[in-house]
């Protein structure tokens, strides 16, 4: 097995006196797409925030490429790890200016202007994410979905090895959901980009992830780690979400498909 790019070792963390995640361990291998799933409040976002050192661990540690996260200078970390948050600030700047901010970690000391390479990269990822059409509009004047796309372009411009996504498709229509997750899958296959993403939509999580991590709100532990077929079972969904579901196979991809077991379907 290839070496782990990210290693979460017996991590416990939370906010103030409230611990959300208890004793979580996970190894992310380079080139993987890992989906983090779980019910609301199960600690999916907290887990991402602890990886980016926004939430400090109470116990345990997180190693990125063999080094603990706090020991890596912030600038260096931003060149290797990019984050797309749940919400994107409707800042008073154009989409292009916003995306170019992703090149800040590469700025040298006393460098104030973007290089030609920075601009070319921004243009490339704007084209890939379909944001080139709105590049001169203010972030505050575009839709939530377009802002999400711009945020993904900004993260890609950082040229990271590890991409952390917190519900990247929450504001997108079905076309853009498929487009963005398809793009992430393509970057993963072509460039070997490692992706760790929090996804609420279990079908999308199953479709686009190599492995899934199912967090359990009841005890803050990981309920199960494994392939989508291993994790997305009727029993696991019932145990974690408390909702009866029916699992079928996607006739095209063969990946598990989840249907609510409402009265009509039972």
């Amino acid at each position: 097995m290839t070496e782990a790019i990210l290693e979460i070792d017996h991590l416990s963390c939370g906010y103030g006196t409230k611990t959300i995640i208890h004793d979580v361990s996970l190894k992310v291998v380079a080139g993987e797409i890992i989906g983090i799933i779980g019910s609301n409040g199960s600690g999916k976002t907290t887990l991402l925030k602890s990886i980016t050192n926004i939430v400090r661990p109470e116990k345990g540690k997180i190693l990125f490429q063999g080094r603990t996260i706090p020991s890596i200078p912030r600038n260096e970390l931003a060149r290797k790890m990019a984050v797309v948050g749940q919400t994107v600030e409707p800042a008073m700047m154009t989409v292009q200016e916003y995306i170019l901010l992703g090149r800040l970690p590469y700025f040298k000391r006393y460098q104030f202007m973007e290089t030609k390479k920075d601009i070319l990269l921004a243009e490339r990822y704007m084209a890939l994410t379909d944001t080139d059409k709105v590049k001169d509009q203010l972030m505050s004047q575009i839709s939530g979905g377009e802002r999400q796309l711009a945020s993904i372009a900004r993260a890609l411009v950082q040229e990271p090895t590890l991409l952390l996504l917190d519900e990247p498709t929450s504001h997108l229509d079905i076309t853009h959901q498929a487009q963005i997750l398809g793009l992430i899958q393509r970057l993963n296959q072509e460039l070997g980009l490692t992706v760790l993403m929090v996804v609420h939509d279990l079908n999308l999580a199953g479709e686009y992830s190599n492995r899934l991590v199912l967090l359990n709100k009841k005890n803050g532990h990981i309920y199960q780690i494994g392939t989508p077929e291993e994790v997305l079972t009727e029993k696991s969904i019932q145990d974690v979400y408390g909702t009866p579901v029916v699992i079928e196979k996607n006739p095209r991809s063969g990946k598990p498909c989840i249907f609510l077991a409402t009265q009509n379907t039972i």
């Binding site: 912030r74 931003a78 948050g85 008073m92 700047m93 200016e97 901010l101 800040l104």
Partner: protein, 336 residues
């Protein structure tokens, strides 16, 4: 894109520099004794010993230099604080610095420290008052090494209220001549500047501009929120600390030298954000230049509109700045 942006910025700076130059010429030529523009080179080269030469060098130039440095410093402090707090309503006086300085000057007037210390007692007491407030706001807002901006804003506003109340209390119990001095100082003036203070204010404001420019990209990233700025590799804690100290010193210096000149630090950054854009690479310089020019023009108006009497410059900045700002905002339908 890069070239277009650089061209726009260059054009913007050129226009503002011309505006500044015109403001400077206006300030030098206008007054109770008018000096024609065409005579200025001659006065500068051959005019030593003449009345015009002494008016120019002893009265108008020191006052102009003070207006330029104070106007620039207050606008710059406004941009830094608005950027750091991501709040368009924050201005240099929000954090209670002016309140602290007013209290210091009030105490100086009431306890007559100026008798032993001389004229320097006014700026010194004002600066010490401002420093005390800066230290209080900073030490209360810092928790486990993190500077909590929301706490800082609230504490600043509270300290501002407390110090204003104490100033009012002191005014209520003071003699009428002391009361007049306090009111006159609070309204702000660029009158009769001491050359040492003029030099200090020039050095502080230019140093403030240079130092803050190193944080222009950090400020751009902070516009997205602290978390996102951290994800972009910004040392947000270090940046906030530096910016707070720079903005505080700029404000403290301005208040202690020229009293409370309202609105410059609020209106100019807004106006420049509307015209030059929100990018701090241009916003810092353009606000500095236009703040300097704005205060210079306001000062000319304050000393000529009811000549030979002089109005407090803070009154003019408030009226003119406020009216222009409301007009521009309603015309452009710009949201803050």
């Amino acid at each position: 894109m890069k070239n277009r942006k650089a061209k726009n910025w260059f054009l913007m700076l050129l226009i503002l520099s011309l505006f500044l130059l015109m403001a400077c010429i206006l300030a030098v030529c206008t007054g109770s004794a008018g000096i024609p523009v065409q005579k200025i080179p001659d006065i500068l080269i051959n005019g030593e010993g003449t009345v015009e030469h002494s008016i120019l060098f002893s009265i108008r130039l020191p006052r102009l230099l003070l207006a330029l440095s104070i106007g620039g410093a207050l606008s710059l402090a406004g941009v830094l604080l608005q950027g750091m707090f991501r709040n368009p309503l924050v201005e240099p006086y929000t954090l209670g610095i002016s309140g602290g300085a007013s209290l210091g000057v009030c105490l100086n007037i009431i306890f007559k420290w100026y008798i032993t210390l001389g004229v320097i007692a006014y700026p010194l007491s004002g600066f010490l008052g401002a420093l005390l407030v800066i230290a209080i706001v900073y030490s209360i807002s810092i928790k486990k090494g993190d500077l909590k901006t929301n706490n800082m804003l609230l504490i600043g506003v509270m300290i501002s209220f407390v110090s204003s109340s104490v100033v009012m209390l002191l005014m209520a119990v003071s003699h009428s001549e002391d009361l007049h001095s306090i009111i006159f100082w609070i309204m702000g003036s660029l009158d009769e500047p001491n050359m040492i203070l003029v030099r200090i204010s020039i050095i502080v404001s230019i140093a403030g501009l240079i130092l803050s420019y190193f944080f222009c990209l950090d400020l751009n990233a902070l516009a997205l929120g602290e978390e996102e700025a951290i994800h972009l590799g910004i040392q947000t804690e270090r940046t906030k600390r530096f910016l707070f100290i720079i903005a505080s010193i700029l404000t403290g210096m301005s208040v202690s030298v020229a009293g409370i000149i309202m609105f410059v630090g609020l209106i100019v950054p807004h106006f420049m954000r509307m015209t030059a854009g929100p990018d701090h690479r241009i916003l810092l310089i353009s606000s500095f230049i236009s703040g300097a020019a704005f205060l210079t023009v306001c000062d000319v108006i304050s000393r000529t509109i009811v000549a030979p009497l002089e109005l407090p410059v803070g009154v003019i900045t408030g009226i003119i700045g406020g009216v222009i700002f409301i007009y521009v905002l309603s015309r452009k339908q710009v949201s803050l």
